[in-house]
């Protein structure tokens, strides 16, 4: 029984920790499938987290905060689009720039507006997205295993968690079952063909980048208004890059992306859980080893030792119409 409770708690925090990764990963999916590499997920998430928390702190409404998060994140996404689509700049360089601008601007503006050393005021009660208890969660608690899974793991999360899982399905549907999705994927593989068909490559890529902005807005809002209570400096802590790793790990597909994010979330949860406690057989695993594991796994995957991760063919290449 104790084992079940332990795992129920670990899986519960796995879900909590994987949600920001999941939103960011799906965000990257849209952009990269359209042929625009985006290593600025981290920065957009951070900017969104700040905008959301600032808005919620001032107006006391998390939904307004979410809107602000999405608007700011999309604005950053459009800067990336302007640089990499319209100006045909280097997409990696642009992403790096966005990460730095967001990291600096959030702290400077936070300090100037709230005078709390770069953080926003703590959000309390209704200013955050509060936990939702699924129907019958407390009644089912007594049922062995299933009840535990339902009431501890699945119930008691904020609305954003359920939106995230819905987004996995929705992204799949958009990308693989709509005309827009087909064109979006085509523009990431062979933009010239799309252009020949009379469809604007630039406008399509801009729309993909906007999708990225919206989803990064959700990721940031979740960080500062659901799992956290307010913005703190550098609160994304490299999650944008783990999301990128998960995206590669999932070979740019939504379903596997969810599994990859859950796996990386699980590693995170277990490393928090296991701090200092020895494992049977293995002995004490240093926490740093578990923290580094997602990155190591990604490198191993990229090297083609477990399957092959092939990025969209036109990824990172600006489209030039006339040649």
């Amino acid at each position: 029984m104790e084992v079940v409770t332990f795992f129920a708690q670990v899986f519960d925090s796995t879900i909590r920790l994987s949600i920001p990764l999941l939103f960011a990963c799906l965000a990257g999916l849209f952009s990269e499938r359209a042929g625009v590499f985006d290593i600025g997920l981290e920065g957009k998430m951070l900017a969104a987290a700040f905008a959301g928390a600032a808005m919620a702190a001032v107006y006391g409404n998390p939904w307004l905060g979410l809107m602000a998060a999405i608007v700011v994140s999309t604005a950053f996404a459009l800067v990336h689009g302007f640089a990499s689509i319209t100006n045909r700049g280097n997409q990696i360089v642009s992403g790096v720039a966005i990460n730095f601008i967001a990291a600096g601007a959030t702290v400077i503006l936070g300090q100037a507006w709230f005078m709390q050393g770069g953080r926003t005021p703590s959000l309390t009660g209704d200013q955050r997205f509060t936990a939702i208890t699924l129907p019958f969660a407390s009644e089912l608690r007594g049922v062995p295993i299933i009840g535990e899974i339902y009431s501890v793991v699945l119930s008691g999360h904020s609305i954003l968690v359920y939106i995230a899982f819905f987004m996995v399905f929705f992204s799949w549907w958009v990308l693989f079952r709509t005309r827009f999705g087909l064109r979006l994927r085509a523009v990431g593989e062979n933009p010239a063909a799309v252009d020949t068909a009379g469809i604007s490559v630039a406008w399509l890529r801009y729309r993909a980048v906007i999708c990225t902005g919206i989803l990064c807005g959700f990721a940031g809002a979740y960080l500062s208004m659901s799992i956290g209570a307010g913005f703190v400096k550098d609160m994304t802590a490299g999650r944008g890059f783990i999301a990128l790793a998960a995206l590669i790990f999932a070979k740019w597909r939504p379903g596997p992306a969810m599994l990859a994010c859950l796996l990386f979330g699980f590693l995170d949860a277990i490393s928090i859980r296991l701090q200092g406690t020895p494992l049977p057989m293995v002995g004490r695993v240093p926490a740093q080893f578990l923290q580094a594991l997602p990155y190591v796994l990604t490198v191993v995957l990229l090297a083609g030792f477990i399957g092959r991760a092939i990025p969209p063919r036109a990824g990172g290449v600006p489209y030039v119409k006339e040649r």
Binding site: I39, V79, F82, A83, S84, N87, R88, G89, N90, Q91, I92, V93, S94, V96, A97, I98, N99, F100, I101, A102, A103, G104, A105, V107, I108, L109, Q111, A112, G118, G238, F241, L244, A245, I248, P286, Q288, F289, Q291, A292, Y295, V296, T298, V299, L302, A303, G304, P311, P318, V320
Partner: protein, 379 residues
């Protein structure tokens, strides 16, 4: 990549356009200062005062610049080979391990001038080793060096935390750092150099690795523009296809370029670890690896541009401290924004003003952009 749109005279291409980009980056930074409720003009004057106001301040500016020269050169060498090494941060961090191990080993045995060359070797080897895996993976297995070097930054951070809270920490000490190096592991300061110009300096961390950085800048220039290897690296960077036809081994160039880049990034660790704190600490790189990206872009990957760009960023770091002291709203994070804006305007948006500038040149003097009656090639 082909340069889009108009052709410009050489001096405008290599001087004016980058200058415009940097000016725009700084103007936007000024807007951020304004948004934070402070005067950009006063901030700028505080910045210059803080960076160059006294011998002490100049020494600090040059101390920071030293680190940025190393990381800037590291990024630039990789750029020439068509590679984007974002891993400077991690390579410098691991480079610190190389420096620390050499110092811990030799500092009680020999004077600093024997430790120094060995430490240079240690730093370069450690940095290069950290760049080697991403390099070999790109060369042999086709995984992109951008993603792998980002991943290696995080792996380096975990590795160093593990080492500094565990094996490298002396027994009975709380702080996660190595023991302090003895005299044989401390680089001499360069205060005499500035004092020779009539400045007075109480104490500053500026040390002899500044001169090493300048030597490295010169060596990089020789390597890239005056050697066969440099020619191969540039060919590979400009046109991998041409390089292949010319019989240049692609895998070999990728690996060698990344090794040189990693070694340069690793040598950055000499400055703070052996030159200033004299012990290996957590997070001693503090973003210098990333500043290198901005420095390389601003300096157009040429040592003659990188050294002034590094000094400019050294000025921002040192002067930024002054601003933070005088204007509570502007913390040192302002530098991070400026860095980002420089990368954006001098890097990703570098050609934004080109069509506009080309049109201006064409209307003022058609000959300068190759539209003259003589029909000569543009300069």
């Amino acid at each position: 990549m082909a340069i889009p749109h108009g052709k410009l005279p050489g001096w405008a291409d290599y001087g004016l356009l980058p200058l415009i980009n940097v000016i725009v980056a700084f103007s936007v930074s000024g807007l951020v200062v304004l948004l934070a409720g402070e005067s950009p003009v006063r901030a700028a004057s505080l910045l210059v005062e803080g960076a160059f106001g006294s011998g002490q301040n100049i020494a600090y500016t040059l101390y920071y610049a030293t680190s940025f020269i190393f990381t800037g050169l590291a990024v630039a060498v990789a750029f020439h080979g068509g590679l984007f090494n974002i891993g400077g941060e991690g390579q410098a961090y691991v480079g610190g391990l190389g420096v620390a191990l050499v110092c811990l080993w030799l500092d009680t045995l020999v004077p600093w001038w024997i430790t120094f060359p060995v430490a240079i070797l240690g730093a370069a080897l450690a940095g290069a080793a950290w760049a080697f895996i991403p390099a070999i993976l790109q060369a042999k297995r086709g995984s992109h060096v951008v993603i792998t070097t980002i991943m290696f930054n995080f792996i380096a951070a975990s590795l160093m935390v593990y080492l500094l809270v565990g094996p490298l920490k002396p027994a009975g000490q709380m702080a996660p750092q190595t023991r302090t190096f003895f005299e044989g592991g401390q680089l001499p300061k360069l205060n005499w150099m500035l004092e020779a110009f009539g400045f007075t300096i109480r104490s500053s961390p500026l040390n002899i690795s500044f001169l090493l950085a300048l030597v490295c800048a010169f060596l990089v220039w020789i390597l890239i523009w005056r050697t066969r290897l440099g020619y191969e690296i540039r060919t590979q960077g400009h046109s991998p296809k041409a390089a292949r036809y010319a019989g240049i081994g692609e895998a070999r160039i990728v690996v060698i370029t990344m090794l040189i880049s990693g070694a340069l990034a690793g040598m950055m660790a000499l400055n703070p670890v052996m030159g200033d704190t004299n012990r290996l600490q957590l997070d001693f790189v503090t973003g210098a690896g990333f500043v290198g990206i901005a420095v390389a872009l601003m300096g157009r990957s040429h040592p003659a541009g990188i050294v002034p760009a590094a000094i400019l960023f050294g000025m921002l770091y040192q002067g930024g401290a002054e601003i933070a002291f005088m204007m509570p709203n502007i913390s040192r994070d302002m530098i991070v924004i400026i860095q980002g804006l420089v990368i954006l305007f001098a890097g990703a948006l570098e050609h934004m003003f080109r069509p506009w500038l080309a049109a201006a040149f064409a209307s003022v003097s058609p000959r300068s952009v190759g539209l003259g009656r003589t029909g000569r090639e543009g300069a």
